[in-house]
């Protein structure tokens, strides 16, 4: 019985977070009224010409550097020709034979350990517009389609992996890792559901140990990491069945249906499209100088994998803590700002508060760490107060809530509400003495050897001091008092 192995490659399109479009000055701002972020260039009006947005190039280089790719000193824009209503010029400006980045890799962590996935290339291209179908959700059954060209000409990078992935899980992890990197170097929002990150999968299977690749199918319409994994899983088992039944896998494009969790062929007979690529004569070859690459490399934010290592080494954080911190760029930034202000040994405790109580408060209030009122200084102040014994952990949580709401200094809140943990022995001793004397039966019990009975008195002290007494200190005082009687 033949055992098959699956061979998977992913083509990912990432929307770049530039302010303006790839070849014109129109805004890329999402959510504008249809056809308002447009001009002759992105509308493809007769006579209009493209002019390259330098920021797009910078971001593409950043991506290439993050993937350890070769940044090509000369790359060429090419026209990819096809007709569709959302493609105003009847061609897409992309890159073909000479892309801006070639080669590279990305390491992923799977259940089997670290694996290096090759990157074939990264190139720049413009996005198409959007079709809004009327009368139905998709083209089938729609009465008409409205063309919105706000998105036309917005910048994309296409990242093509080598077919090094071997399982649906690996594909999902690849996507998650890729997303993390793009978000961290701040060039993409990385939101698959909103379309700022899109993936197509190329899937084939071959007998285990065989070298030549099997016939591959392209799977489209993957709108989440989960879809990526599920679609590929389905496709692998489908292809396995096909081969086992003695048939051949047909090279075709298949559409993933998340509701049904299966892939379907888009057309009966696949006509492979001839895009007639040729260098775009309206644009000059893109030349990149080593100085620019060096500068961008220097300015490149630290990659998440590097951060993980650093957090573990310097602060002793565990995997779970790293995951939570790195899951959100704003949490990460908050954490790092805080960590920089204290000694490394103090960081772990601060991390606990960040990923615990502060995270919970932020999530509940539907806010972002970039805009909460609790500043890193506030947090450090609070944790210092707790660690020095001035207030209890329990009080600390309440104070944090207060700071979260008002943005006031923890010290001031504590002073105002008199919540300073009473460790002032004088005042406490008075209270303790009074309470002990009020409970002769407890004194008797404790004297007989039942020290636990003192706990009741501790409770009373806490009640009297409105929870501000240090419990250990109160206990000690109670026992001392009883012993002295």
């Amino acid at each position: 019985m033949l055992n098959f192995e699956s061979v998977i490659g992913l083509e990912v399109h990432a929307q770049l977070k530039t302010r303006t479009k790839t070849f014109c000055g129109c805004s890329t701002q999402f959510g504008a009224a249809p056809n308002t972020n447009v001009c002759p260039v992105c509308l493809g009006l007769p006579g209009a010409l493209p002019v390259l947005n330098k920021k797009v190039v910078e971001m593409a280089i950043m991506a290439g550097l993050a993937f350890h790719s070769q940044i090509q000193p000369v790359s060429v824009f090419a026209r990819k020709n096809y007709f569709y209503p959302d493609l105003p010029k009847g061609y897409q400006i992309s890159q073909y034979e000479l892309p801006i980045c070639t080669g590279g890799y990305m390491d992923i962590q799977t259940s089997e350990g670290t694996k290096r996935i090759g990157i074939k290339r990264v190139h720049i291209e413009e996005d198409a517009g959007k079709l809004v179908h009327q009368g139905a959700d998709a083209i089938a059954g729609a009465t008409s389609s409205l063309v919105d060209l706000n998105r036309a000409c917005t910048p994309l990078i296409e990242i093509v992996s080598e077919p090094d992935l071997r399982s649906p899980e690996e594909a999902r992890v690849y996507m998650e890792t890729l997303r993390e990197i793009l978000v961290f170097i701040d060039i993409c929002d990385g939101n698959m559901e909103e379309g700022s990150l899109r993936a197509d999968a190329n899937v084939s299977i071959r007998p285990k140990g065989a070298v030549p690749l099997g016939t591959r199918t392209e799977v489209k319409n993957l709108n989440s990491f989960r879809s990526v994994e599920r679609a590929i899983k389905y496709e692998i088992s489908r292809q396995t069945e096909v081969l086992k039944s003695g048939s051949k896998v047909i090279q075709q494009t298949r559409h993933y249906d998340d509701a049904a969790q299966k892939t379907q062929a888009l057309r009966e007979k696949e006509e492979s499209h001839d895009y007639r690529y040729f260098p775009d004569p309206d644009l000059t070859p893109l030349r990149i100088h080593p100085e620019d690459i060096e500068r961008i490399q220097k300015e490149l934010p630290e990659l998440p994998q590097i951060k993980r290592g650093r957090y573990q080494q310097s602060y002793g954080l565990g995997k779970f803590e790293c995951d939570v911190i790195l899951s959100d760029v704003n949490v990460m930034r908050y954490f790092e700002t805080t960590a920089q202000k204290v000694e490394p040994v103090s960081v772990k405790e601060l991390a606990k508060w960040i990923i615990g109580d502060l995270n919970a408060l932020t999530k509940e209030a539907r806010q972002s760490f970039s805009s909460i009122k609790v500043t890193p200084d506030h947090l450090i102040q609070l944790v210092t107060l707790i660690q020095s014994g001035k207030i209890s952990g329990k009080i600390g949580k309440e104070v944090l809530s207060e700071v979260f709401k008002s943005g006031e200094d923890p010290e001031r809140i504590i002073q105002r509400s008199g919540a300073v943990q009473i460790s002032d022995t004088g005042a406490l001793r008075e209270i303790v003495d009074h309470i002990v004397m009020a409970h002769p039966e407890v004194i008797a019990k404790v004297k007989r050897g039942k020290t636990q009975s003192a706990d009741f008195l501790i409770g009373q002290v806490m009640k009297k001091t409105k929870g501000m007494a240090k419990p250990d200190l109160a206990r000690q005082m109670i026992l001392e008092k009883i012993a002295s009687l």
Binding site: P40, P46, G47, L49, F83, K89, D282
Partner: protein, 506 residues
Amino acid sequence: MKEIQKDLFFKSAIELSRLLREGQLTCTSLLDAFYAQIEQVDSSIKAFLRLEKNRAYEEADTINTRFQKGDALPPLAGIPIALKDNICVQNSQTTCGSKILENYISPYNATLVNKLKSHSLIPIGKTNMDEFAMGSSTENSAFYPTRNPWNSDYVPGGSSGGSCAAVAIGEAPLAIGSDTGGSIRQPASFCGVVGMKPTYGRVSRYGLVAFASSLDQMGPISRTVEDTAHLLNVICGHDPHDSTSSPASVPDFTAALHRGVQGLKIGVPSELFNESIQSKVKASLEQGLNRLKEGGATWEVIPLPVVEYAVPTYYIIAPAEASANLARFDGVRYGYRNKEAQTLKNMMKQSRGKGFGREVQRRIILGTYALSSGYYDAYYLKAQKVRTLIKEAFQKAFAKYDVIITPTSPTLPFRFGEHTQDPLSMYLADIATIPVNLAGLPALSIPCGFAKGLPIGMQLIGKAFDEETLLAAGHWFQTVTNFHKQTPNVISIGKKIKHQNSTLNK
């Protein structure tokens, strides 16, 4: 005023400018004169597709006021100018001579148009052309053909036939055309006027409806080389809207006019000075060359064999680029859309099939084929390599010579219908002009003779960015010859056309 009126429309722009400055004319009366001439002759010549009277008179008013105030105004202020209809003018129809854009109104101005306006020239209307600039006779206009003002049985050349005929017949002192394979120079030659294609990148292409992006350039059409130099000053310059626009500095082209031709070294490619050139054309050219020799220039015949490959190379590269440039005309957002079609594919097919003329469709198919999988290497890639060889051959020649001179056209102007049945024979009309576009060089066509009452043009080709040498030689030539001062017989035109109309097929 009446005397001035009579030959006003055959004066050069600079002469008219002087009259304006001297107060002998107002901008408005100047417009009156030219619109009157258009009224008189254009029903026969049909150089114009549409006139912009309202706007022109508004502009004239504004500039009049400035003249009266004594404002310092640029040399060509107040001068009427005709624009080829593939140049975008804001809130104005821009049809490219095609049914597919018959009602298209551009929402923006070409950079060139903005430059004309900031120098106070007055666009007076849009001129006829071969559809999407594809043609050498203006017979491919979807609307009507333009007649050669020298003989209405003959074509004015193309694709800027309308612009050149308009200047030749005094409907405008200046015009702008576009040149991809000779479309300014050849019709200029056929119409006995001056036409120039500047170095590729000199003039912004933003707002010129693209035919072949790596070859297209707009350029001036005028009666004199002096006018050409002034107009070049207006339209040249780097444009951030055009990535192929050159950052090279723009000199004052008029400063070069009086250099003369002493010591000028002229090369004449043998391939364009042999039996492939009509004998009368060759004779005129030779006379012209000897005239230049009298001025102190030297000329000799040189081999330039790559010229033989220019036409095939061009007819792969230009249609290939055009096939992509014209893909935007799909009936979706603007232009003609076929409403009967029931599917998306058919809508696009029918809109393009009915909206584009035969020659345009022919070239789109040619270009698509040349780029298609399996043929790209053999055709497009190969053509680009040959193009490099052509560039290099010119560079080599320019190491020894200052200017290369050829006839602009291998033949005298031809009759209507003479080449319409055989596209290839039409393509060969551009054998002398095409190499220039492939090499990206500047070239000037000036009248250098007549035969059978039809004009002959001399083409001067220069080094990249060396328009000045061409202007100097052309201007000198015009100080010692009168070909550019000849004018077609206006009165007879009306009569002859009435008689001829019935014999014309289109």
